[in-house]
């Protein structure tokens, strides 16, 4: 087969991206509101996985606490939406030094969730990235397990074990779309913006620094890249993305409690990002689809009894994760790339 020239390949990629955008934009016209809800979750997971892929795929660090950072984002959105008035109404008395207004529009809390969670991630990353290798994985693992207990302890702000109920979502700004449609477009709108941000980041100076550290920390240091700074930066960015995803999740389900973000969520997020493909932004969509739909379809698994159905997603995720590491470390995106290899391989020259 004759390989395609580079510009044509880029055009092909852009066309695929445009097709995805068109499908996502038109999807609500053709499906039930129930499905739209599911695809809203896909959008939310997509954002979270984008962040995790920046960290794991590009800078080579593992976080087992991504779900916990979603939780922080969710609490930021919930608390700001309710405001001091709302919290007092539920019988909570947040300390006065916390700057709380009298409630905000849920959508407007999203940028704040981005910033706050990003800062928390950056601060947490500073000590956690001290040891080479897996110290971040250790610290974030501990964080994911302890977040629910911390949230229960500080119930004046978080509502404790009972959680916080948000006002039911409604379409803001007087727009003429139904609420599920609005939530869908809100989630995917954020996803689109953050996809562009991620794309710009990994192609910029900082993205090159991340990849340099991932592929050879020593060589990167010798070239004047500070591993500590850039790793912490990657963790901050990935946390900020998780914060947005958590905020959107809080708006979507109109309820936050400490057990909405268990360790299992963090682990499944990592599994999904690996399945989608480490170091591939477009592969993330595969991971997001799998995270939303695999547990749903695994409820009626073929060949095995009902007693297995609850555990089936876990076994499937675990086994798939191991097999992918054995056979296709680049995940779904890697498979696709391998499939298109004949089209994209550079033309051999005489010197070869």
């Amino acid at each position: 087969m004759i390989p395609l020239p580079r510009p044509l390949y880029t055009a092909l990629k852009l066309a695929a991206l445009a097709a995805v955008v068109v499908v996502l934009a038109l999807l609500p016209r053709f499906t039930s509101e129930f499905r739209i809800g599911q695809f809203t979750f896909v959008g939310i997971y997509f954002i979270a996985l984008l962040g995790l892929n920046i960290l794991t795929g590009y800078s080579g660090q593992i976080s087992l606490g991504h779900g916990a950072f979603m939780g922080i984002g969710a609490y930021v959105t919930a608390v700001l939406t309710l405001g001091r008035k709302g919290l007092v109404l539920f019988g909570h008395h947040p300390p006065h030094w916390i700057p709380l207004g009298d409630g905000m529009r849920p959508t407007l809390t999203i940028p704040i969730a981005f910033v706050v969670t990003g800062i928390v991630g950056f601060l947490f990353g500073m000590p956690a990235l001290r040891l080479a290798g897996v110290s971040l994985a250790l610290a974030t693992f501990a964080m994911a397990v302890s977040l629910p207990t911390v949230a229960k302890r500080f119930e004046d702000v978080t509502g404790g074990g009972g959680g916080l109920s948000l006002p039911l979502p409604a379409t803001p700004f007087g727009l003429h779309v139904s609420t599920p449609h609005w939530l869908y477009y809100e989630a995917w709108g954020c996803a689109a913006i953050l996809f562009v941000v991620a794309w710009l980041l990994v192609r910029a100076r900082v993205g090159r620094a991340w990849r340099a550290i991932r592929d050879g920390e020593l060589a990167a240091t010798a070239s004047g890249v500070s591993p500590a700074l850039y790793k912490t930066l990657a963790f901050g960015v990935s946390s900020a993305f998780a914060g947005v995803a958590g905020g959107l999740l809080a708006i979507q389900v109109a309820y936050v409690n400490p057990d909405t973000f268990p360790l299992s969520l963090s682990i499944l997020l990592l599994a999904s990002v690996v399945v989608g493909g480490l170091g591939s932004l477009s592969g993330v969509i595969v991971g997001a689809l799998m995270l939303e739909f695999l547990p749903i379809y695994a409820q009626h698994p073929p060949f095995v009894g009902q007693s297995f159905s609850k555990q089936a997603p876990g076994v499937a995720f675990g086994v798939v994760l191991i097999l992918i590491m054995f056979a296709v470390p680049a995940g779904a995106a890697g498979l696709l790339r391998r499939f298109f290899r004949p089209l994209t391989k550079p033309v051999p020259t005489v010197s070869d």
């Binding site: 087992l64 250790l138 302890s146 207990t149 997603p313 876990g314 076994v315 995720f317 675990g318 590491m325």
Partner: protein, 293 residues
């Protein structure tokens, strides 16, 4: 004062459990340079196996020994079948594989034994001793004794046997060991087997108090992580000292500091982990990672 001493004794008992699991993590870290995130789930699985053996009529200590044998072969099998294919790949790949193992084993445990909580018998009478006015629970003393005996036996194995020596050599320099006709691959597998045995001991000692459920070792694994980091992630003595110290400190903090209470025990472990990483990343007994370029 007597209550203070009682808190220390019960802290030492839970600390011994953390120490066993921390030592398992350190064993694998020293030989393969990775943290085995599935260590806790492997321990849970073997503890359930012990429960099944006892459920089928075996008494405690035969079931205990049989479980250790099963854990050992299981650990060796996991290394041979699942870790070996990725042995030479980047660290992150191996870590992700152990996380896959964590997910899969947790789900398989729930599948075989169900997700509901089960009671697990203790071999020690639910009684107390009176030592100069300090009430000491026999359960605590037994737990501490079994864990420390395991650690001592292991130390003897590494110190006085040829295989133990070979395993230490492999941890320090696999290539040179291979030249001296040490079978490096099997030594690594042996390390995984011994780590699984330590995990099984920790699991069976913890189960009477925390009860059996598929995620019972999760919290203990976090304490073990904190203990291993506190003692120095590459130091076996550090893991044991770190585990015991962590058990005592957390017990005292949760008893005497109102802010911590029983709810914030786990976040306190996380805080200790972070503080150690800030002040002394190599831990109490660990070595600074120095690399020659």
């Amino acid at each position: 004062m007597t209550e203070f001493l009682q808190q220390i004794v019960s802290g030492l008992a839970s600390g011994a459990i953390y120490a066993s699991l921390a030592l398992a993590l350190v064993l694998i870290y020293r030989s393969t340079d990775v943290i085995n995130f599935a260590q806790g789930e492997m321990a849970t699985f073997t503890t359930y196996t012990a429960w099944s053996l006892m459920h089928h009529g075996l008494s405690y200590w035969p079931a205990f020994v049989l479980t250790l044998a099963i854990a050992f072969s299981g650990g060796v099998a996991v290394e041979r079948v699942i870790i070996r294919p990725v042995e030479r790949r980047p660290e992150i790949v191996i870590v992700i594989v152990t996380i896959g193992l964590l997910i899969a084993i947790n789900a398989i445990t729930g599948w075989i034994w169900g997700a509901d909580v089960k009671a697990f018998d203790s071999p020690f009478p639910n009684d107390t001793w009176d030592v100069h006015g300090v009430t000491v629970s026999i359960q605590d003393v037994g737990t501490f004794g079994v864990c420390m005996l395991t650690v001592l036996l292991l130390w003897g194995f590494f110190r006085f046997t040829t295989v133990g020596l070979a395993m230490r050599a492999v941890a320090i320099n696999p290539n040179a060991s291979r030249l001296l006709a040490v079978r490096v691959g099997w030594m690594l597998a042996l390390g995984w087997g011994l780590a699984a045995v330590l995990g099984a001991v920790a699991g069976m000692m913890a189960a009477p108090t925390v009860f059996l459920d598929p995620s019972m070792m999760l919290v203990i694994l976090i304490y073990a992580f904190a203990a291993a980091v506190l003692g120095g992630i590459d130091s076996p003595i550090g893991a044991v000292v770190g585990g015991l110290a962590l058990g005592v400190v957390i017990n005292l903090l949760s008893r005497y500091v109102n802010f911590v209470g029983t709810e914030l025990r786990l976040p306190t472990a996380l805080a200790i982990l972070l503080i150690v990483l800030i002040i002394r990343p190599q831990g109490l007994f660990g070595h600074k990672a120095v690399r020659r370029v």
